[in-house]
Each structure stands twice: as structure tokens, then as C-alpha cells.
Symmetry: C2
Subunit: 225 residues, 2 copies
């Protein structure tokens, strides 16, 4: 995996945005090396990482092929922008329905964004940390589960309409790349998943697949042994 | 505009996610009717709106052309999913660089997602309202400006590299559709925009254009007179 790697993913084992991209890379069978950015040691704010990603957030993908505009290796951050790039650059094991089906593509993206724009930003470490710093008496797990419940209720409804073993249809899509890390977080926070039978089934189906297993937090090189 | 309308956007004048889609519709010169969903009156949670969008968030786009899978009119929510759909369905006044330039497309998306995933979710009304309900002594403007400052610092840096009067290059893109509503919010919250000369210039350039003017909150049919 390392010698033939054509790209590097800056990732942290427990980061759910990193987890999304790890799933996509594995589904597309793209060679990559994982470079750990230890959030507990605040490495995302170290100079070496800020030189790569000035925003100091993970994940970041570096493609060894040079960027045609800058002549430098291509550097992309933001998990959904990375996955969109991979989808366009490597149209195998496609993560969005074919371009003939614009409505279906829109619905898969809508599901992904319910997770990425409405649920996850309100529970990521930097927002929780800021709330604590401001002295809010935060019950973090309850706060996170509140937003997860709201997002999952809508998501579950969409799977009833569009899903068939996976979030949309019978194969993994971009939506599953976002859902599975969010389910991992929900379990970690102790959220009640009882009201979401489809989401639980999709999680089980995905976790049968090697691409999802290899991307899981506990199987990362930087996970605690 | 009403008689020839081929689509309806459920929108609220001050909603920045709605504002993004209004800009995209105008840039692409797509006929549409605006249907107001009054957030102050909690109309987003009324039964008639929940029937259209069970998540109870705005915006939602209804295309009169039937969805090929369901045979019903196409309903899409999530602002970025709507804009991606419009971009794929109506490839005029394109909002992403050409598909020959995958790296550029990725960078435009990255900029859009800095706003849509990292800045905006921490300042939208439902998250602020929830914080107040939990009794946090929230200085809402300071809280919002803190996240805007962090996101704008990165965004400003990217415009130095990629921008030329607009966020990316010399024409409006998806990134500007997201940035401009966020600048509107920043002004409303009284955030300091002094450190972001490029963002200020991009805002001025965009606001010279009819597509952006027509989309502005104060020019909406449901804005207070």
C-alpha cells in the first residue's frame, strides 16, 4: 500500500469527516497512504499541517499528480469536495447515480448533506470545545444526540422511499459514505437508534463490506491498540 | 415571472441557504416563483410544509417536470444539492469550472463547503434557538462572528490564490453563491470584515450584478416593507 501510493490522506482515526473519505477511497480501490493528524495533540494547528491546510481541519487529500494550474501536487480539503473530486477523476465504483438520472443524483446528495451540513457540524470537537470554553454547562452527548435524532428522522424517511439495503438503491453511494461515520458517532454518544430500523440495517450491510471495514476508526494505523 | 414559472422555490427572505439558491437561479436565468416560508411564524414546521420537506428546513425546490422514478414533481432540498442539480440540468452560466479542470472544480467546491459546512451551521436560527433553550448565556453575535472569522480567514487566503474579482477566477461560481449570503449575515451580526479585503471586493463586485441584487434579502417578496 505505501510503495504504490499515489495519494496521501491526512486523517485522524476518530474523525468522521476523514472516515467518509476513507470509505470512498476504499470503495474505488484507490491506493493511498494514511498520514495521521492527532487531534488530541492539536496537530491540526501545527505549522507543518497548516502549511498543507491553512484551515487546520481534517481531512486533506494530496494527489501526487500535479495541479494543472499551480504545477504543484493537488491539495484538496473538505470531505465532500474530496469525494466529488474522486468521483469525477475516477469514475469506477461510482458513488452517485449515472448522469442520466439527475433527480436521483440530487437525492443522494441531499441525504449526504443532511449529515454533513445539518448534523455533523453541531457535534464536531471544535464546536463542542468552544461551547465548553464559553462556560456552557454542556451535556455533550445529549446535545449531539438531539441533532442526530433530527437528521436521522428525515434520513430514515428517505431510505424508505429510495433505499434497498443501502441508503439509495442496492449499492453504496456518497450517502452511505456520510451515514456510516455518523452512525459510529451516534453509537459512541449513546444515542437511541431504535427509531431508525433502515439506518441500522444499512449500517449492518455496509459493515459487511471490506471497504467499510478497512475505513473504520478501530482499524486505522493511529487508533489506540 | 409567475405565469411562465417552471419551478417553485420555498424560501425565506433572510435565510442564507435560500439566498444561495436564489442567486444560482438568477445567474442561470431560470424562471421560478418564490413561495415564502415564514420562519418567524414557524411555518417551516407546519403540516403543509412538512408534507413537502419532512425535515422542516428551507430551501426546497420543486421542479414541475416529473421525477422519472416517482412520476411526481421533483422535490429537492439542501441548498448545495439543489445548486448541483441546477448545474447538471441547466449547463448555462456554469457555476463550476469545466469538467476538464477537476482540480479547479474541487477548489470551488471546497470554498463553498467552508461556508456551508463549517461556518453557517453554527449560526443558523435553529442551533442558536436550541442554545438559548438550554439556558446558555449566548452572545449570539459574538458566537457567530467567531465562526465567520475562522472560515473567512481561510477563504480570504484561497481568493488570493485563485480569485480574480470573484472567489475563483473572474466570473461568479458556486463559491460566490455561498459567500455572498454569508457576508450579508456577517454585516448583520456586526462582524469585523476589515481583515478580508478580497472578500469585501468580491461582495462589491457581485452586488453590481442583477442576479445577486434580485436575490438579496431586502428585495424578496416576503421582506418587511
Amino acid at each position: 500500500m505505501t510503495e504504490t501510493a499515489e495519494r496521501v490522506l491526512y486523517s485522524y482515526w476518530r474523525s468522521s469527516a476523514s472516515y467518509r473519505v476513507r470509505i470512498a477511497l476504499n470503495l474505488k480501490r484507490l491506493n493511498h497512504t494514511i498520514h495521521s493528524v492527532n487531534l488530541l495533540k492539536n496537530e491540526q494547528n501545527s505549522q507543518w499541517y497548516r502549511d498543507i491546510n491553512p484551515q487546520g481541519l481534517i481531512p486533506t487529500l494530496i494527489e501526487v499528480i500535479p495541479d494543472p494550474i499551480t504545477g504543484r501536487p493537488l491539495i484538496i480539503s473538505q470531505s465532500l469536495a474530496i469525494i466529488d473530486y474522486l468521483e469525477e477523476a475516477y469514475p469506477r465504483a461510482i458513488l452517485l447515480p449515472d448522469t442520466c438520472f439527475l433527480a436521483s443524483r440530487a437525492h443522494v446528495r441531499q441525504m449526504a448533506q443532511i449529515i454533513a451540513c445539518d448534523v455533523h457540524p453541531l457535534q464536531n470537537p471544535r464546536s463542542l470545545q468552544e461551547m465548553r470554553m464559553r462556560g456552557y454547562s454542556l451535556d455533550a452527548d445529549a446535545w449531539c444526540c438531539r441533532w442526530i435524532a433530527e437528521g436521522f428522522a428525515t434520513y430514515e424517511g428517505m431510505t424508505r422511499f429510495y433505499g434497498d439495503g443501502f441508503s439509495f438503491g442496492d449499492k453504496p453511494t456518497l450517502a452511505d459514505c456520510c451515514l456510516i461515520p455518523q452512525v459510529y458517532n451516534a453509537k459512541r454518544f449513546g444515542c437511541d437508534l431504535e427509531p431508525y430500523p433502515n439506518i441500522r440495517r444499512i449500517y449492518e450491510n455496509c459493515m459487511q463490506m471490506e471497504a467499510f471495514q478497512k475505513a473504520a476508526p478501530e482499524n486505522q494505523p493511529d487508533a489506540p491498540k
